[in-house]
Symmetry: C2
Subunit: 407 residues, 2 copies
């Protein structure tokens, strides 16, 4: 069995967390200077590990093994949410790097090919799962033209990052036996139940929306309450309506969040004439996602009927639930049972992952390690080192089993 070097794995993770360090975590938005520096650092680490590495036109870092045997793709993402944790995404990429290197170093596995991908913008600073969608040819040039972040377009961000005009790499599904991704759980199921490993059964679907409210901008002193068309008040009413109605139609594991609100012009003494909010929900059941969307449509129709402002609901993305390959689940579970008997469980992923895109093209599997107290997308995010190392060993065991065709 290939020898996973714990010190090397942890050392690389610590070094990577220095790019954009913030308190005990990392602030590394996609295509920022820190993010690009981390990508170029990864290219060097991949080359050291014997992979042929490149950064493609969407910013994904892809390292290809020179071995001729059966190929397995391993990956995750490098960028972080704002002021977020050091492991989210980064750990899965470092698992790929360490497994590729350990396989290459062991004559018994040197013929097996491990390719590693760090998919750009999984976190959605400019879109959602941009790198894995691009790699799987689910991202058109028109989509890139239309995408924008909080303060610039995706095209502008790519140009500033020096990526404009580069070729985007594409997946050849026939060349791989499958895809594996390691990740922190980001919830507290494992941590609160004293388990150390989660074998992912499937990834929840995710629908993202933009609400736009149009009223009438006016003077906030002289305009009587009765005649106002305050877009901010319309937004608050609609948010409140969601909070009232969603619990009655949501599934037991459904979640929904308003992540951003903008009032326009945003001055203290002006009635907002426009308002905008980003809203999303998630569930593992397709039927539930559809029911939640119908409920949103009803809320919007009611708000428009009630007035005085108008509301528009725009679907920014719909990502369906995606099941993981049963044989890959078995391979991960066997390896988990070998390294940590009785300390693992099968579970759905409530977070979006690149695996759900690649699983449409290749058999895919995911392994979780515990997030302490379930904290994630926050700089306090952490996992015990022994669990990080255990996860990588299990991951390597499953990868070997899959590559040898036992899965």
């Amino acid at each position: 069995m290939p020898n996973i070097q714990a010190a090397r794995l942890i050392g690389n993770l610590r070094r990577l967390s220095e790019f954009g360090r913030y308190k005990t975590g990392v602030h590394r938005p996609t295509y920022s200077a820190e993010d690009m520096a981390a990508r170029y650092w990864l290219v060097e680490r991949m080359e050291e590990a014997g992979l042929k590495a490149t950064i493609d036109g969407i910013g994904s870092v892809i390292g290809r093994s020179q071995a001729r045997g059966p190929r397995l793709l391993i990956g995750s993402h490098l960028e972080t949410q704002p002021y977020a944790g050091w492991l989210d995404g980064a750990m899965g990429v470092m698992y790929g790097l360490e497994v590729a290197r350990a396989f290459a170093e062991d004559p018994a596995t040197a013929a097996l090919a491990i390719d590693v991908g760090a998919w750009a913008d999984e976190e959605g600073h400019y879109g959602m799962l941009l790198g894995s969608r691009s790699f799987c040819e689910q991202l058109t040039e028109e989509m890139i033209d239309a995408a924008k972040g909080a303060d610039k377009t995706l095209r502008a961000a790519l140009a500033e990052a020096g990526l404009a005009g580069r070729r985007r790499e594409r997946l050849d599904p026939d060349s791989y036996v499958g895809y594996l991704e390691g990740h922190v759980e980001q919830a507290d199921y494992l941590d609160s139940s004293g388990l150390r490993l989660g074998i992912v059964t499937g990834i929840v679907g995710f629908n993202l929306y933009r609400f736009t409210f149009v009223g009438q901008q006016n003077h906030a002193g002289t305009t009587r309450m009765a005649v106002r068309k305050d877009a901010g008040v319309a937004l608050v009413r609609l948010c409140n309506e969601i909070e009232q109605r969603f619990p009655g139609v949501a599934g037991p594991r459904s979640v929904w969040t308003t992540g951003r609100i903008l009032l326009d012009p945003g001055a203290p003494a002006v009635i907002p004439g426009k308002a905008e909010m980003l809203f999303h929900f998630r569930d593992i059941e397709q039927e539930c996602l559809e029911l939640l969307e119908r409920t949103l449509d009803e809320i919007v129709a009611d708000a428009n009927a009630q007035g005085p402002c108008s509301v528009e609901l725009e679907v920014l993305s719909r990502t369906p639930p995606q099941l993981m390959d049963p044989k890959f689940q078995d391979a991960l579970e066997l390896a988990a049972e070998q390294h940590a008997p009785g300390k693992h469980m099968r579970m759905p992923s409530a977070a979006v992952h690149d695996a759900q895109i690649i699983a449409r093209q290749l058999p895919a599997g995911m392994l979780f390690v515990p997030s302490i107290a379930g904290i994630s997308h926050h700089y306090a995010e952490d996992t015990k080192e022994e669990d990080i190392i255990l996860g990588c060993r299990v991951f390597a065991g499953a990868a070997e089993r899959i590559l040898r065709g036992a899965a």
Copy 2:
């Protein structure tokens, strides 16, 4: 009687509206390049009118007559709300300029002294009524140190505008018989009742607050609804509570507005750990303002008792209601009756004006002209030219009456 030159008045107003022109209005935030250009342009116009002009350390433009007779101060402000109208503030300053020039040109009034002030940041990009408060010594260096706008501190804005280190001018109350300010009504009382002039009886009080909500930033997919501490949801609930409770305690003319909302970090897939909103209300009755503030305190206490997020209410400013001088109201009414018999009314001002600051030190009066459809703080703001000109003539008549001691 001094000869108000209609073409000169309208020409100056049109020229001034070119600084920061936006559609049919103006975008000229305090200390922006366009705003500073307008201030330097005003200095030149004042000098042309025979005034000795300066821009002081807070950005106010002050022009002083060289005449030795009784002195009247006339003013308003130059900067605008974002993407707002061409008359708000600007018209009152141009009234001062035209009246000063007409008085100086007429031998019968050349001994009467008209000083003109364009008070900085009435609109509150960095504070509230900064220029008039500074002129009346109600703005300390510590307040300037603490003040900030949407994207920079007041100190930084002053430095960028080249104003750092300049002396701030101060009012000598003994040298003036009083203060007059002309302004567009910004409401639709005059326009909807077919009247052409409003004599202001008093200016409503204005309380401005910042609410800060603290929850727990976390992953918006993996964190169960039941255990979330979503600061954005807390903000929406509190806004909704204000909408529920305020109508029951507000006066008939009370108004309240949430002008800005920020969710932190503001990413679509992150539960907001912090949220902030700017909120204000206005009324002409001091008792009503106090009741509204007590209601806010109760709402905040209830929210904190309910949890799971904490809420803090911070008073950013409290500006009490301010009555206009009765003799100045009489002088304006007599001039109004002379120029437009039966076409005027006495009315409170629902908007904040520099007059309410200066009225604490000097007898003060305000004259309104109609805002078409009551639209203000929007680029569609407008007033008929004939009403602008009429207002200036009435203003000049009242100024002469006041300066000759008839008021």
